[in-house]
Symmetry: C2
Subunit: 262 residues, 2 copies
Amino acid sequence: MCQLMGMSANVPTDACFSFTGLVERAGRTDVHKDGWGITFYRGKGTQTFRDLTAGSDCDVAAFLKQQSIKSDIVIGHIRQANIGALVLENTHPFSRELWGETWTFAHNGQLEGIFDKLNLSRRFVPVGTTDSEFIFCWLLGCIAEKFGEHKPQNTRMIWDYVYELSHTLHGSGVCNFMLSDGLSLASHCSNNLYWITRRAPFGRALLKDIAVTVDFAQETTPNDIVTVLATEPLTTNETWSKMLPKEMLVWEKGEIIARYVE
Amino acid sequence: MCQLMGMSANVPTDACFSFTGLVERAGRTDVHKDGWGITFYRGKGTQTFRDLTAGSDCDVAAFLKQQSIKSDIVIGHIRQANIGALVLENTHPFSRELWGETWTFAHNGQLEGIFDKLNLSRRFVPVGTTDSEFIFCWLLGCIAEKFGEHKPQNTRMIWDYVYELSHTLHGSGVCNFMLSDGLSLASHCSNNLYWITRRAPFGRALLKDIAVTVDFAQETTPNDIVTVLATEPLTTNETWSKMLPKEMLVWEKGEIIARYVE
């Protein structure tokens, strides 16, 4: 399996505290050492860092933990390979352009027989060999086919459709995923996905996987709203909400704009 | 304008020496300080680093200069913005997936009126507002339309077509570019593009923009063949070849596999 991390905020926010906790699980406090990646949206543009080295022992990850990249939406991933070799093209997050926007996807789970079950469009073709990139291409192909040349003005229609599509995946196995178009962040839960929304009054937080504390009151303004998602809670002194099986939440500016549940 | 850098090698090779020279021109020895980016192919996978900070004064670039990322094909770029705001989505190199391969593009030049002159396909749409990403989308759209669902076995047909398409661009201004599918690297010259192929016996090289020397004999094996391309020669003690106007060279494993010239 793998582990996911996500962030949605109403102001560009530094996600390095959460990333610091996550990458400890990439070889030190947990086994997800088969590469890692993280995408930061800054407006329409993205910055993606990825590497094949275990995140807990990787120069690029160590460098990133010291940076302060301010971002509206973040998707991060640490990999424990099951389907697909340990090569760079199998490293999440994956990205594709649709309607002049960069879409980003990361997945935790394993989907048996998915390659035979779903037909891809000709437009989005996997570069690597993971089930994860395969379903990302399938999702985008379906979205592009349904809505055609232009993104619908009512973007809620897209997320309705993504939730509908997610039902096709449930029968094949575990499928926790994050998907973003740079404006919204969709988080879909099969079995393990937690979230926490931080807002004023901000307090201190203590990472679970390494002795690092942050006082968010020093880092934020009273209007900031920042949601962090993770496969397992990243901090010990805060209450994280666990998503339900087959629940999908769509986030904008740190808040839920759509909730789907069976 | 901007400056380009490229590398094609027959073994995964560290391009940090060339990158070190290039980013000096991003604010110190030259004016290309409006962001920078570099894509490393490692097999089918890519690692891209980019930032909006001037390359000569950027933490990410400083970090990269100390790394030793071994790559088959590299495309690098430092930007002096003309068309398109100073935002991350306007930072080269650009990438898109076609036929399950990651295609990468960077451009130096300015193409007047290009937005009105060329029609884009629906499939490849710019995320940013540069003329550069626009012509990349146009090139890929033309390629996808001409060859259809599958990449032609004889990839020479693709490069023949890219060269044919490049004629459409010449009338609009300066268009030096690098384009790669991860297997070949095409370098197209309008006015300024130099290359050098290093092979045994390897010697020492001295960067032009900063007092850094490397002894390639210590870094290579006798079978290595490494070509580096740049808008202006990166070293002072070696002889670089200047490409001709409207010349396009296609490189594989450090050697020319196709040459196009008027």
